[in-house]
């Protein structure tokens, strides 16, 4: 008998624009001690399945058909009270954000002991013993003392361990984990996955792990189910799905995953989810508007160089300057970016890489140090009009495509704003022609100009951002995690686009990412940052093949091993 069996599950979300079929008849099974991965991109319906199993479907969603069995017992038709007894007791849950999964006003002890006592009726003393034992199992050092602490006194990774302990505390038969490591840094992700896998084996618990991340799938699962727009397109052992997929969607998904081990020329076959409008490829840059930025001084050698950059944020405000306390976000960072190269900055969250980018483009004023652009120290320039000349030469693409566009403006006006501000065109008509051309250039099509940002998907919005950045005809482009909010196939499209543009326009780029495989695909040289300091700068291939700094070695060792992934159809660069 299967532990968890989902038969032909259909879930619908009625809305005033018609009913959305979020899940269209999915059948899955989980055996004891087995980890089943459900993978798919946003809108695939994977989280909806998890929520439906534990009766936490968000209204107005409803199960339109199919059954769910736990050890042969049907659970999808139970009333609220009955499903509540199963939830937590027989099915444990781990959610994405460890910050919101714990009650901030209660100590870990209160939360764990209460849950254990509620489900297992052990009595206060036994429950506490068990709670401490659980914390020990999930690898929290000094559990007897740590259990008295509040959630905010734990780091993100430790908090997720507590959440796992909480999910395990009633000895559940099944655990449903929805993106359990997405909010965590890579170094912690690997540990958490290892822990989950071990506990699953030891306790013979079945696990349903829902994720968009092929790295997680490769690391932890035994079998994988691939979802695409509500349909289960393919299911099989992890090795088979990753190494030799049958369905074209799975193939396209796997080909879009950035490889840590090889550098690709471009990502192939990434048009499955969202078709890219035809890009105008055969144009002559010397006559095109984008190539007409003639008034910039020529630069020899490095275009951008930062020297001894320091940035401090006030961590404790005080009326008198001397009483203020500071937190040093960037500590004495220096590097050069050569004309025409893609320079990567990589590091975990909080390492200061975005802060460096913001200092270069003038969003933050450095505490000390200099930002040189083509030999001019930008931190010394006081006049706004003088700065405009340099602003025109460098533009930035931001991380979050949903907040980087003003929702009250039409795409036309968003992209036209820099052109109008810097007076790069002589008439309104010319501005419009340029904008339409730019939109075509980033693979959006001219029709986009008349619409508002909310009508576009994340990937399309990121294309609008890129068009806006190109609208000043910059020669230096800062990309701050440009794809980290996007699905993998969309990420592959955007990375392809950035690569193409970089080649066509001869752009110099600063490319910031926490994702080493992406860095490998994009960058010529890479700087590694740790806690505000630059620990290593090397050529990309050197960095990946023969890292020198111990921290780099550590980061590389924590990268998901994707060597099982199929290599078919890839153009590998040598």
């Amino acid at each position: 008998m299967e532990l968890l069996q989902i038969n032909d599950l259909k879930i619908q979300f009625p809305s005033r624009r018609g009913t959305v079929d979020a899940v269209k008849g999915v059948t899955l099974t989980v055996k004891p001690g087995e980890v089943l991965g459900v993978v798919g991109e946003s809108g695939a319906g994977k989280s909806t399945i998890g929520n439906a199993v534990i009766g936490l479907l968000e209204p107005p969603g409803r199960v339109a058909g199919g059954d769910v069995y736990l050890k042969g017992e049907q659970i999808n038709n139970l009333d609220r009270d009955a499903i509540r007894k199963i939830r937590g007791r027989r099915i444990g849950m781990i959610f994405q954000d460890p910050l919101t999964s714990l009650d901030p006003l209660q100590t870990i002890e209160q939360q764990l002991v209460e849950t254990i006592d509620l489900h297992l009726k052990l009595g206060a003393e036994k429950s506490l013993e068990r709670a401490i034992d659980l914390l020990d199992q999930v690898g929290i050092p000094n559990p007897a003392e740590r259990i008295k602490h509040y959630p905010h006194q734990f780091s993100g990774g430790m908090r997720q361990r507590v959440v796992i302990a909480l999910a395990l505390c009633a000895e559940p038969e099944v655990i449903i984990a929805d993106e359990p490591t997405t909010a965590l840094d890579v170094s912690i992700q690997a540990q958490i996955l290892e822990l989950m896998r071990r506990l699953c084996r030891e306790k013979q618990v079945g696990m349903l792990i829902i994720t968009h991340d092929m790295g997680v799938i490769a690391d932890i699962t035994d079998r994988v189910a691939v979802m695409y727009r509500g349909d289960l397109v393919e299911e099989g052992t992890t090795q088979k799905i990753l190494g030799d997929p049958d369905h074209p969607y799975t193939k396209s998904l796997i080909s879009a995953v950035p490889r840590p081990d090889v550098r690709l020329h471009r990502f192939p076959m990434v048009d499955y989810i969202e078709k890219e409008e035809d890009r105008k490829k055969d144009f002559d840059i010397s006559t095109h508007w984008l190539g007409q930025a003639q008034d910039f001084d020529a630069v020899e050698g490095s275009l951008v160089s930062v020297e001894n950059l320091v940035m401090k944020f006030i961590s404790k405000e005080a009326l008198l300057k001397k009483n203020r306390q500071y937190f040093t976000a960037v500590d004495n960072v220096s590097f050069d970016i050569r004309q025409g190269e893609v320079f990567g900055l990589v590091g975990e969250s909080g390492s200061g890489k975005s802060t460096v980018a913001r200092m270069i483009c003038g969003l933050y004023k450095p505490a000390s140090g200099s930002v040189n652009f083509g030999g001019t120290d930008l931190t010394k320039i006081k006049s706004e009009t003088e700065l405009d000349y340099y602003r025109r030469q460098m533009q930035m693409i931001f991380q979050d495509p949903f907040s980087s566009l003003n929702g009250r403006m039409k795409v036309m006006d968003i992209v036209a704003e820099p052109i109008r501000f810097h007076k790069l065109a002589s008439s309104n008509q010319e501005v419009e022609t340029i904008v339409l051309d730019l939109l075509e250039h980033v693979g959006l099509g001219r029709a986009a100009a008349l619409r508002y940002p909310h009508e576009f998907s994340g990937g399309q919005r990121q294309r609008i951002s890129i068009a806006r950045a190109l609208a000043t005809r910059p020669r230096f482009l800062i990309c701050d995690e440009p794809t980290s909010a996007l699905d993998v196939s969309i990420q592959a499209q955007i990375l392809n686009l950035l690569k193409d543009l970089q080649e066509e326009l001869g752009l110099t780029m600063l490319f910031i990412s926490h994702d080493l495989p992406v860095i490998r695909q994009m960058c010529d040289r890479v700087g590694v940052m740790k806690m505000g300091q630059l620990v290593e700068v090397s050529e990309t291939e050197t960095l990946f093949e023969a890292p020198s700094a111990p921290y780099t070695k550590e980061l590389l060792s924590l990268m998901p091993k994707l060597d099982k992934l199929s290599h078919s159809g890839l153009e590998i660069e040598d």
Partner: protein
């Protein structure tokens, strides 16, 4: 991608969640209809009212103190009866509501302009400017709004001569009510500005080089207007009430151009001699107007805040 369809503002509005929420909320529909009737009937009072109560030629003292038309001594010409000088109550209400609404709308607009500007500056500039503006707001909040309005009216009476004050009293009133209400807008706008200014679209504008003043009005302002519209609706009701209170106390508009508050005060004197209709009908009109506007404001607040749905 679909063909280029440029949607007009109206089409986008008809497809919006706000419009759908409105259509499915009977309270909101009734409130809007009532508000519209009140606003239109007062705006077109000269055309619609049975009588011009301020034209002495129309008034006959013989008609004074008639009860509403459905009562035994009532006169069919005067639906809600007449006052002590023979003026038609319905007509005075329509003319009075005109003054009340003008003062209400104008003071709301005045509060909005002051409040939004200070809120935007406060939120965007931060630091000392922010601290200064917000402390002024805190100080003002520690006084009741009506006290501030009374104070300003008193000062205006001291500065201007009596006949001049009578002429400008409506502007003094608008200023007094307006200035006592800006704090709410400033606080709300400041809060939203603090959120918006850290969003990446504002940073993108800064990277382009757009100057702060343009960023404020082109980028931040349109994105903080949602909650402002909610406050403005509810504030309109408060402003109308404040005006009525001031007029009731006798420091509002002069009796020659009576507002609803003035009418209630005048009628109040006759309440004990049995002529209840002189004060009850203007009072009821004020109540209905304020209630309708408030319900509309409540609906708007719920519709714009997805968490409350």
């Amino acid at each position: 991608m679909e063909k280029a369809v440029e949607t007009t503002r109206l089409e986008r509005f008809l497809d919006s969640d706000i419009w759908h929420s409105f259509k499915s909320n009977p309270v909101a529909i009734v409130s809007l209809i009532v508000t519209l009737i009140m606003v239109l009937s007062s705006a077109f009072a000269p055309l619609l009212a049975p009588q011009d109560p301020f034209d002495l030629a129309n008034i006959d003292i013989m008609d004074s103190s008639l009860p509403p038309s459905w009562m035994a001594e009532g006169d069919p010409r005067f639906l809600f009866g007449t006052d002590d000088q023979g003026r038609d109550i319905l007509s005075t209400i329509m003319y009075g509501a005109q003054i009340s609404l003008i003062v209400g709308f104008a003071s709301v607009v005045f509060s909005m302009v002051v409040g939004i500007s200070l809120g935007l500056i406060s939120g965007y500039a931060g630091g000392r400017v922010d601290a200064f503006i917000m402390r002024v707001a805190d100080i003002q909040l520690s006084f009741p709004a009506i006290l501030i309005a009374l104070l300003i009216d008193g000062v205006a009476r001291g500065i201007f001569e009596a006949h001049l004050h009578e002429q400008i009293s409506i502007y003094v009133l608008i200023f007094a009510i307006g200035i006592s209400g800006w704090v709410q807008y400033a606080r709300t706008v400041r809060g939203s500005t603090l959120v918006e200014k850290n969003k990446e679209y504002v940073q993108a504008a800064r990277v382009i080089g757009i100057r702060p003043i343009t960023i404020l009005h082109r980028h931040i302002l349109p994105n903080v207007m949602g909650p402002v519209m909610v406050i403005a609706t509810i504030h309109l009701a408060i402003a109308v009430i404040t005006e009525a209170t001031l007029s009731f106390l006798g420091v509002g508009v002069p009796p020659t151009t009576p507002s609803l508050g003035t009418l209630i005060r005048i009628g109040n004197e006759y309440l004990f001699s049995g002529e209840w209709w002189i004060t009850i009908f203007p009072g009821a009109a004020l109540l209905i107007l304020v209630l309708a506007v408030n319900l509309l404001g409540d609906w708007l607040r719920d519709a714009m805040n997805p968490k409350l749905r």
